[in-house]
Symmetry: C2
Subunit: 204 residues, 2 copies
């Protein structure tokens, strides 16, 4: 089954992603010309477009790597949350934020976000939406867990609350990547401050 063709395919995918990731970081998204990516990956322009529908999809593949790592790291917190609602939320938010610039620069995030709103039905757009949904889901799972433990009132609408927290965090993150000078500690502190209002409302 796994013939030459399949192996070469995987190999080329990897080469393209590696070349693109390096060039995006060095030269920025716009600065990284498809021609240069093709040259560095040692394939032709046509081949790149055979593998990815457009330049944005290449970036999309990198974003997907990042977010999936973040989701994985988040599982730990959900399974074993700090014994205090505020800290539990902060721990999860912290993981998301601290991991976020591992593969991606702020400029790359901006581009990725832009493309996902611009073309919500493209493969990347849909993948991005799915990733957002997974993150929302994870926050909901944390809340459900806290309800189980008895740290959050049972009568709270966990689904709406999860969405509310995710939406707020996500908007704050969008603003964070829009300003190159914005720092992570300030971002975390602001989100903590906002969540405090909710924490007061939902604690037992």
């Amino acid at each position: 089954m796994s013939g030459l063709r399949a192996r070469q395919k995987a190999y080329r995918h990897r080469r393209i992603i590696e070349a693109a990731a390096a060039l995006f970081r060095e030269a920025g998204y716009e600065g990284a010309k498809i021609e240069a990516i093709a040259a560095q990956a040692e394939v032709s322009i046509g081949t790149i477009y055979n593998y990815y529908q457009n330049k944005g999809d290449i970036l999309g593949a990198i974003v997907s790597l990042e977010v999936n790592e973040v989701l994985n790291a988040g599982r730990g917190v959900v399974a074993n949350p700090p014994a205090n609602v505020g800290d539990a939320l902060d721990a999860l938010v912290g993981i998301y934020i601290e991991h976020s610039l591992h593969y991606l620069s702020k400029e790359m995030w901006r581009q990725a976000m832009a493309i996902s709103t611009q073309l919500p039905d493209s493969p990347f757009g849909q993948a991005y939406t799915a990733l957002d949904r997974s993150l929302t889901e994870q926050i909901r799972a944390l809340i459900a867990r806290l309800q189980e433990i008895g740290l959050v009132r049972q009568d709270i609408d966990g689904a709406s609350l999860g969405e509310l927290i995710f939406n707020n965090m996500n908007m704050m993150f969008i603003e964070f990547v829009k300003r190159d000078k914005a720092g992570m500690p300030e971002l975390r502190a602001a989100i903590r401050r906002q969540n405090r209002i909710l924490v007061a409302a939902i604690g037992v």
Copy 2:
């Protein structure tokens, strides 16, 4: 003072915006070629670029019209809010949402949002951020008003709360424009549901 030159300038601005608005709606943002906008406005391509730095800025001018109308309509609610926290928030949110597709189609919103994240330092990017800030400010003003009236607890951090409500609404609106099928009533209902958690927390 207001000589021929100034009059022609205003006239051409208007022609370009009108031509662009019509074509954006008909053909979509990408579909509306600069050449076509120029032809319809009866100016040359170069002139368009003399008036606007790029295609996005033309859209930006239209967005600005829309949001400023919305802000104006919102002032009424802040001055005279319904005598109930949930209804007051819903009234303001309602105005924002119902007005939002007056000049702009969902596709145009998507493009506008995308550009504002992609190029946060461009004239349009900065203008868009300023508009968002004005909306946040208006929500904060409403909360302050409700605190005055005695409908919201005095010890609530109004600034953070306003941000939280705006961020959540804005993310919901982003998702709304990303899905062509999404409807306004569902959007409003979802936001109301999310705000309910807050309303319970902040009411006297």
